[in-house]
Symmetry: D2
Subunit: 416 residues, 4 copies
């Protein structure tokens, strides 16, 4: 095996192993149940990510290989219309069979054949196959984050709470706790405002590594001078908004957001709970903890982020602004902007639209990103549960404005 | 231990063991998922039936004994308002913890303490305690039937079918297959019509064994002469209704039934499926089988039963008529009326109303039956999945008119 | 014209004129809008009752006569599947055209042709035609009551209230006000309990006048001794139930009723409103009035009636019991039972099932009653808005247990 | 009165008269009913536009004047949270009182007092008051278009169709028919592709007349070279998409659009209907007409517009591109781009986001535009029912991507 192939295989093994590490603390029951249509069972994530490699790598480049199980093509297709019918998303949790063990066997089969394929693939195929494997690994990393956000949502349905992993047991393998809490220096001081210059800027991926189709092509945008808060909004600052009647005052809210607040009776971010003594607690992957006022607020919807910004006499960032600023962080040119990556995804006021000249991936994966470009907002940065090395300044995460089960937080911006 | 107590304990063990036998073929995943609001997970049935003994026997008669787990009082209370808040019924499937293993440990705890209690209970308590245990066992038998109907519904959601138990493997322990199919002599010949006399009859439980509050008091009813078909309607006869356009012709349907037919696009009983060659198949607990035309039709709603009866120029039985007829079967006074018990529950046209002078059980179990006396119809007899010895002529099963996931069939009646 | 025909025509004119009198205070807008699926616009009632005469009399017995307007056959068919497709019930309020004026012209056309038909109909047809006209008039009277209940519901949607007719202006034509209030002697004294004997009784229509198919055949029923409250429950008595926490205590409620109470946040009968000073007001066809504690409570659902009865240590009457008692009132054999007719319909605990030997009307009107015999409860008596002479002891009104927009009240019963 | 004031009054009279002209062919019933939550009754539009003048002009600048009717402040407030509670939008059609006549009296009152106010207003107030009147008139023009789109939707609910105005009767007062059909030269020839240069452009309102807050501030945007089709897509071209299986092929659709197509069973634009011979008809304000293949297709959602563009190997315009191109038309610098205004609103792929530096209007009307800036897409141009002089190149219309009841069509764009 060439060094390049050996390195690809090593990376494959590492990413795949991390997925299984994430599933490890979960019983078969935990891995099977679906708590809401948007959140998939862990077992489904395990199967789907393997199906992705079978579909995009093995079946493309090794057509003689038999399909592992024709039923899995139906069960683990997420949303690819061109690949045929599939289990409806809200019914992924009804699949008690295949079992978790059978899905793990499927993973092992795929892993073994990817290894064999990396060895046997001829040179002409390798360039494309390597790209497909890269895509599969980045895809798997996205599902690693979803496993944690979806499990958190599921365990929260348990009326008596449930712990994914105790806080202590985590240190060795994952130095960063899975709740935003406590992994960053405390934030007593008010944020500073950091200025950025206007004018013609470039955005979109530049580099030689992997990126998604939606990050391209790199293109020019005209920006006006702006400033960013040096850090994310803390739970304490968000609590001040709550205590100032933020959830009772329509003046700060988008019309649709205000409807949601009333229909769903939102009074605080998802996972916050006030006890009868008025103390606030927050549900985390380590179970319920007292609210730490110095940690970044997380699990807020776009509607809440925008209302908070209005209340704070500021605004949310535009995507291009955040990309320009995060590029400086990435390039080591700015040390003042904290929490760009690794704390919370940061809502932008920019709709998830196609870049000028956008071309989707070719083949089945043309459906990967482009067909979701309506009704969603871009989030930039990454969160405490984003796998190491997965994000970058040009990365475009996106969710509908009412989504709260992701680790989504708030950075404020202002015009200069 | 007296003989009476020894016999009570033996019966307890036997009934409880049967519940566990029923759960045996199911994985933890199968036992955890809830496929619709009306159908509960097997794990919940396992927990709830134990909770019932803890609540109705142990906590009543052995108050010094600590509660096993206060959370279980919340999780496994079904609908007893007087016993406090409870897990909402449609969310029983979100409870991945406690695990199946933990619920089994709870069962073992309850069993051990029931055994100890039977030994230690003083004489004055025993009369009432014995009745409470009897109620608990009859209650558990009801849930045994529900485990099978609910699991059948769940496994049917699997797009590729799923087998609860292979047909062969069942014989030793349960001589009667779990699908209506094949356990009765074939039914080529048309049914005979058996006449019954009118006049003043009695209905309601008479005897010295256990019965539910809703079967009492025994009382007089005036009936007009009628006749019954000697056996249940077969799949073949029902197919003739389908092929005659029964599901397309509103003339035979109750108004609300016709709305349901159109809204839910019913074309046949639940679990029937027609393949592209026009052949009919039926999903059973043994997996999908070819439709056996000679077996009794099952899994029809009241709406379908009533439409079929109209199409057949007959009517459905009244509850009192069936009770009179089944009492003759029970008393060995009639050998002509077949399939009174053990095939399918038989829809009656009688609403589930209180008998004159009805008094609910006392205490928390006052909620057992009385509060459901509206909007439901009585079914008489028993089904192929009703536990041996559980039913009787005066037994009153009841479901809403659109329910189809029970083993419910059709016996025709006519005025004389 | 014979005297019989002249008399039929006179009765026809009188009933039809009353319908128009009821519509008189309403603007075209009031007559067009539909406030909920169960309540139809007045214009629709005006058209439908004329369509009924055109369909059941003119088209049956005068086939050469052209259809007035083929579109009206679609628009004004209520639920007769055998007469073809029809405007969906929840969309009756979208029909702004034909206008009220056009529907009135349709009424005039039907009236003129019914008059001509009565004169020209040959002797052999007359017997059947007379019965069809009788049915049409009784049908129209049912819609007269519905016009008022439906308009009341509509005007109540107006956030500022709205008056159907001022209380004063009504006296000449309708000596009885349209709200239950004030038309009966005040009810300070507690009701007396009047005993009735058990044994074999007869129920079902007996006589030579008109009755519906559902009132036949007359048949025997066995009753146990019972007693009735001499009058209906008053608003004051119902208020005591409210003030005793009746709407907060599940112990008195049927399971389904309790679900409705919580889902719909019921705190009092429909049309009751408590102001900020704690005073209760009630919306009537004369506008909002202070609650009169001595009047019979009205606009309660079956669920509320049953809960009140449980709270009062009594029960609701069975249909047969009320029919036996009302027959005595009708026959002048009892002067102690007050408010049998003309105050509020009285909920019974009897499901609306077919009588033994029930045969629907023949022809299209077979759908009149029989197809609704599931999921509903019988109400006996009549209300303050039931047309004079429309009801009788054997009359069977029926509504689902959650219906509140009818003038439905409570009479208590007890076993003896 | 100064000339300026006289001119303001003349404009006011003209705009207000046009609203009443639009309501003229409608009966009181037509004006009262609400066919869906998004479409308001004409009567409500008549009241709301008067309420707007009372609120924004009279109550602001003439505080001594009494409120006309306090109930109207509740009934005719559309969505202004800062002005207090209001009739819920989906229940606007339940308001049968006040009547159409009473709402017209309200209009007359407002008109008389606006006239008096224009005369008596002192000089210092006049500048602001003039702006408020201008806003009121532009607001009223928006509702003029909505009256027609909402009435069209209502009349289409009538199962037998209904005519708003016959085609012939319209010519004198409104030279342009209210259906897109026939008011533009026929479009046999394929469209030409017109190129536009990239680079730094300006967008946003520039001029001295009225504009909305959302059109400001004028700002720079960077565009890449593009080309536009010289005219809108015709019904014939859209029919080719339908006949090529466009509504059956998910490949062209956004994911959410494909869900809507299936859930709502869309097969063609709103108002299109295919008869049993395969001929297409279209419902218009003049009633149902044969489909004219040469007219611009209208009443398509964003989802359909985007799917068509994908099928045609093109894309939808960005807002800035259309604004640049329409500015040339407006400035008389381009005669090749047809149907910029007066045919159909043109969907853009640009989300309705705030411009850099956007500041809402001050006071209550701050809620006019800003709070809707999420989940909607911009449409540019104007339609055949947009009032003369109401639109301009910088105008930003906006609707959710599934909206079809507006006169919305398709212009194609391509990258150069």
């Amino acid at each position: 095996m060439t060094l390049e192939r050996a390195s690809a295989w090593a990376k494959y093994r590492k990413v795949r192993a991390w997925t299984e590490y994430l599933a490890e603390p979960l019983s078969d029951e935990d891995q099977c149940v679906q708590a809401m249509a948007d959140a998939s069972p862990t077992k489904w994530h395990l199967g789907h990510t393997s199906w992705f490699f079978e579909t995009v790598v093995l079946r493309q480049f090794w057509p003689e290989l038999s399909v592992y199980d024709a039923q899995f093509l139906y069960l683990f297709n997420s949303y690819y219309e061109s690949l045929g019918p599939r289990q409806p998303r809200p019914q992924r949790g009804l699949i008690t069979r295949p079992s978790v063990a059978q899905v793990k066997a499927y993973r092992a089969h795929v892993d073994a054949h990817i290894q064999a394929f990396i060895q046997r693939c001829d040179l002409t195929d390798w360039v494309l196959a390597f790209q497909a494997i890269e895509l599969g690994l980045n895809h798997e990393q996205q599902h690693q984050e979803l496993i944690l956000t979806d499990v958190k949502y599921l365990l929260h349905q348990n009326p008596f709470g449930a712990v994914y992993r105790p806080q202590a047991g985590l240190v060795a393998l994952h130095p960063q706790p899975l709740h935003c809490a406590s992994h960053q220096a405390t934030q007593h001081a008010p944020p500073r405002w950091l200025p950025f210059a206007g004018g013609l800027h470039s955005m979109g991926y530049t580099g030689h590594g992997f990126c998604y189709d939606n990050e391209t092509p790199r293109h020019s945008v005209y920006l006006y001078p702006f400033e960013f808060a040096s850090r994310l909004i803390t739970c304490g600052e968000y609590l001040a908004f709550i205590e100032d009647g933020g959830y009772q005052n329509p003046a700060h809210w988008l019309s649709e957001g205000w409807s949601v607040v009333q229909a769903c009776q939102w009074l605080a971010p998802l996972y916050w709970k006030q006890d009868t003594h008025g103390c606030w607690h927050v549900f985390t992957l380590h179970g319920e903890l007292p609210l730490d006022l110095d940690q970044p607020v997380s699990h807020v919807s776009y509607f809440e982020a925008a209302a908070f910004a209005s209340w704070a006499n500021a605004r949310l960032p535009r995507e291009a602004e955040l990309e320009v600023a995060f590029s400086e962080v990435e390039g080591g040119r700015s040390s003042d902007l904290q929490q760009a990556f690794g704390a919370c995804w940061q809502w932008t006021s920019s709709s998830y639209d196609a870049y000028p000249g956008f071309k989707p991936f070719e083949g089945a994966v043309a459906e990967y990103n482009g067909k979701f470009m309506v009704g969603q907002l871009v989030l930039k940065g990454s969160s405490c549960v984003t796998p190491e090395g997965h994000s970058r300044a040009s990365y475009r995460n996106f969710f509908p404005p009412s989504a709260r089960w992701q680790f989504s937080g708030i950075r404020l911006a202002r015009d200069l």
